[in-house]
Amino acid sequence: MTTLEQMEHTGSYYPAALGEPEPMSMLASAAYTFLGFEGIRVPFDLCVEGEALGCKIRDGGQDSPPSVVERAFGEKESLHIPKNVFDKGRFPAVFKAVGMLKKKFGDEVTIYAGVAGPLTLLGYLYNAATVMRWPIKDPARMDENLNAAVVFILEYVRCLFGAGCDVLVVIDPSASGDLLSRKHFQRHMVPTYQRMRKEIGEPVVLHICGYTLDFLDLLPETGFEAFSFEGPKVQVRTAREKVGEKMLLVGNIPTYDVLLFGTPDQVREESLKALNEGIDLLAPSCGVPVQTPTANLKAMVKAIEEFRKERK
């Protein structure tokens, strides 16, 4: 949820805030200290893991997060995890930032850490176009690489919880229903998430943006506590119907149509609608563009306060 206005407010800008612990934690804390949200999350991009595993990344300047420009592995190569990988790239900075945030704000708000989900990570490491073929052409390779990705992610997650993170967010947009059929989601992703669940004792939010209607009903099988999704592609009511009561629902305020282009009134309206339909944690649908106005993000917080008052 990082924006230019939060960067100005904290004096912590991209790209320093993407790779150095102090500016990273400063900028992240603005979600609480400046906007009023009850959670703080680091890091801000999904390339941290790929970078340490050998992807070449390019910094996106002040307006955007970095992107992977060169893959770590060729199509036929197996997923290789370098020795002492968690000392590499931006990992040490992320762990430090988590620790600093926990120390300073851990008693007041939830400290979240976001990690790339297994399929999304494979997309960075091998190229999404390559990975996408595996379920159809080589399901065994799909499983083998998902397993290898999970081994790595679990190790990373242990470090994050060790550093002080409260809740993990597994961000796996590559597993969206535009790219994966229900059949393949069921065959490959459900067991993969279950394996992660078994090893992670702490709470997990699974985030899959885009179209997920085809497999919403399978999500409780993952065992994760919460699902975060994108509106208006997936409505809160529909999600609740299909997911049931086993999972908390997170989301789903549209990033462009409402948060960027809308007025605070529109944000309030959309937020109250989501809350009344049963969203448990109000959040943006997906990564917000850095130009998103502060007033609109604050309108989400105000809507939550309003909703709670009415409920009392």
Binding site: G60, A128, G210, F261
Partner: protein, 217 residues
């Protein structure tokens, strides 16, 4: 084998993403003395239309489309080599690319292929394209349309900047945008001229824009 039968077999091979089979049939069509332009239209293009239908019906997903597009590309490479230069691609010129910061080019590549098969000349800037490059390429190629794609909500704003630059420098040029996070509202707010929700509607949208360009001229 007669012509019709070959067209049907070839379009079926596209649908079943049998790359080698498509190439084989493309060679065969040339041996039979069939006009490659006709074969592109009645076999490859027809195959991709069926693929588009399967996608709409949720029987096919992006991976299948990607593989069908590759199969089609295999046929296209063989057929295009036999077409005299200048006799295709004369429907119009289109510059295409994925904007800066965004390396997601699967959708863009499929759209590019659809446009090529549809008879347009496409100048592909690739992915992660610096914004000013779009304007430079329009000037270099004298293109009529710029087609941009973004997959990330964090990079999408780049398209707005390109549209502003294009309006400033080449007001006659029309802009179409696409990508998973693009909505009708985004199109309106960015000031784009056209938008294809899926690759299946790209040609339709391009035709519309070219009609408007002709009317304006």
């Amino acid at each position: 084998m007669d012509r019709e039968k070959l067209y049907i077999q070839m379009s079926e091979a596209v649908v079943k993403f049998e790359e080698e089979r498509v190439a084989e049939l493309a060679e065969k069509s040339l041996e039979m003395g069939l006009d490659p332009v006709e074969t592109i239209l009645h076999a490859l293009s027809a195959g991709m239309l069926i693929v588009g239908d399967l996608f709409e019906k949720k029987e096919y997903f992006v991976p299948e489309i990607l593989m069908c597009a590759e199969a089609m590309q295999a046929g296209l490479d063989i057929l295009q080599a036999r077409i005299p230069k200048g006799s295709t691609g004369n429907k119009g010129r289109i510059v295409i690319g994925t904007v800066f910061g965004d390396v997601h080019d699967i959708g863009k590549n499929i759209v590019k292929l659809m446009l090529e098969v549809g008879g347009y000349t496409v100048y592909d800037l690739g992915r992660d394209v610096p914004l000013e490059k779009f304007v430079e390429e329009v000037n270099r190629t004298n293109a009529d349309i710029v087609a941009m794609s973004a997959m990330l909500t964090t990079t999408m704003m780049g398209m707005k900047k390109v549209i502003e630059m294009i309006r400033e420098s080449n007001p006659r040029v029309r802009v179409m945008i696409g990508g998973a996070p693009v909505s009708a509202e985004v199109v309106k707010r960015f000031g784009a001229d056209g938008y294809a929700k899926t690759a299946g509607t790209v040609l339709e949208e391009a035709e519309k824009l070219f009609k408007r360009i002709k009317q304006d001229a």
